[in-house]
Amino acid sequence: MPLTKEKLLTSVRKTFRMFLRLFPVLLGVMLISSLVIELIPTLIANGALGHGHFIDMLIADAIGSIAAAQPVISYLLAGELQKAGVDLYAVTTFIIAWVTVGFIPLPVEAMMLGWRFAAWRNLIAFIMAMIVAWLTVATLRV
């Protein structure tokens, strides 16, 4: 079907309306992310980790899940965690949760893909972060 001027204008108008609906959610998610990113180093510095394998993995999973920033930041933080003596299981869980779980962008994901899908996808990814971390470290130790 050829692209006419009318079709172009209609699609721009439709897109603009769609974008306006998405915009406040994106803005809200950014506002929450800004606070959360400030909070993470404080949580780690205050000794949130260091309570045994499983508890540490769970806490690392939770911290990684609420983060919403570039993955490179997770590597830097994870590198610092490892230097501080946090075990590789928790460090790996943190890295995986950072990129696979997104509790902060959840409203945007739910708006586009539906709440049921977004909630289950994130919950399953949360659980899988610990399993993948355990398998990764176990494979390396074989």
């Binding site: 699609s11 769609m18 994106l26 992310s33 800004s34 409203p107 708006m111 899908f117 996808r121 494979t139």
Partner: protein
Amino acid sequence: MSEKQDNPVTGRRSAKKGWLFLAATCVGYGLVFLLFPEFGRKGVARFGQMALELMPIFVLVFVFLWLTELFSGATAVLARLTGHGSGLRGWLVAIVAGVLSHGPIYPWYPLLRNMRDQGMRPALVAAFLYARSIKLPWLPLMAFYFGTAYMVVLTGWILVFSVLHGWLVERITDRWQ
């Protein structure tokens, strides 16, 4: 809440909900400012920095939305490649596309929404999103911090779990339908 009400294209209620969400976030920020002014100030500074960084991404979101609207025929072809009868080819397309896709997730949601509406399997949407966690440009940095073996093993497990994740998400969301 039904899925239909959340449709960002046709749902008027979702627009109201979006502004309500933003208003609630602003109220929350106000409370943070009252209780922890220093933390609130840092948050606002970080938000300013993030807004500047994300400005081009918002343009990209708009362009993605527009392109998927304009070329809905092309997304229909992609949706067929990842539809319910796509089999192994569908999984391969979703996972390879997930690994190759980069940048923030936000521009990808409208495209995935469009493709899912045209028949893409929910399992493959989930697999695509999981495989996106493999960030090709950052793999050398991961290898630098944690070693090449670590990088290879973790990437391998993420690939395996992309399939498992997609399959499980579809099974569970189907059951709860």
